[in-house]
Symmetry: C2
Subunit: 199 residues, 2 copies
């Protein structure tokens, strides 16, 4: 049984948007299970004393430029969301709420939500999350209630804590079995790793 691929990402991470489709295709080509794990990078940064990389610094400006350039190279439409950076906690809770019903639907929801923000340039808010979930046949009233449900908050927290415990410190991060890869720019390394079964 080949090892699954684990995809850790923050919904507010442009590089996660840039990576998600290619990683999905790569996993399919290699018949590997791909598990999506949305996390909250803010929690990770708080624990490690780091700050979000896409800020007003020279480095932050470079990263914005690199993101747009990477999208062009991939032939992938890219827009900055109307509000950026933004808090993705409601999106994470929605993902795990939907996953309780169906992992497949949760993954479709996650890809569609990344597209809403970084392809269409929409601002993330509860209405966007809930109306998008409705498109995937998730009950509006039920999801609205779940988003403020302490049980679901605790579940999302458990997932983020487990990611940190595993060694996740950025977004996107991918594990092939136990092998960690950080960043959209490691896609080619992941492909080579899958082909060669390690290197």
């Amino acid at each position: 049984m080949p090892k699954p691929i684990d995809f850790y990402f923050d919904f507010s991470s442009p590089y996660a948007y840039l990576m998600a489709r290619d990683l999905t295709h790569l996993a399919q080509r290699h018949s590997r299970e791909l598990n999506w794990h949305p996390i909250l990078l803010g929690v990770v940064f708080k624990q490690t004393g780091r700050t979000p990389p896409i800020d007003g610094s020279t480095r932050g400006q470079y990263l914005r430029h690199d993101i747009e350039r990477t999208a062009r190279r991939k032939g992938l439409k890219f827009q900055w969301p109307a509000a950026f950076p933004f808090n993705s906690v409601a999106a994470v809770r929605a993902f795990y709420a939907i996953q309780q019903q169906s992992t497949k639907r949760a993954v479709h929801f996650a890809q569609a939500l990344l597209d809403c923000m970084f392809l269409d340039g929409l601002a993330l808010d509860d209405e966007l999350i809930i109306s998008l979930a409705e498109r995937f046949d998730i009950d509006r009233a039920g999801l609205t209630e779940q988003l403020s449900d302490p049980t679901l908050k605790a579940l999302a927290k458990t997932q983020v804590d487990a990611a940190i415990e595993r060694g996740v410190f950025g977004s996107p991060m991918v594990f092939v079995g136990d092998e960690p890869f950080w960043g959209n720019d490691r896609l080619d390394d992941i492909a080579h790793w899958l082909e060669a079964d390690g290197f």
Copy 2:
């Protein structure tokens, strides 16, 4: 006249070692001038409030792993220098001292010094710098004197300040004309940029 390629790096940067040869070959394939600019990342970090990335954190440990894995993928021998991290200020001064005599010899010296540290695993110290420079026909006594010469210190500082002014915030960083690329993992993007004359 095609635009030159500028290679900014800190002598203590493993990713600079991993990138240097490939970048040299890439520039040669495209008949582009490649200018080497050793800098002091410590000065950059001081100005930006950042800290060296390869520390004891989870992220630092990942970077160490990624460096060794990247070297394996490239088929490039890699060893951690006997002392790491280390201060590369004497190496930077030596480079600019040698460059006053010959840019070509300074570049040969720089590649050889990266090899001494990251291929042979030697610790950087003044004796290593001076004996290596001697192999490139640089006068030992003259260089020793120059390393503590205020004029040379000022020249090295000017070069580092100019790099920061241009937008250098990490190592390695490459400019193709005005286009910045950060990291060994942008080699493929640089190659594509050279082939397509931008994208």
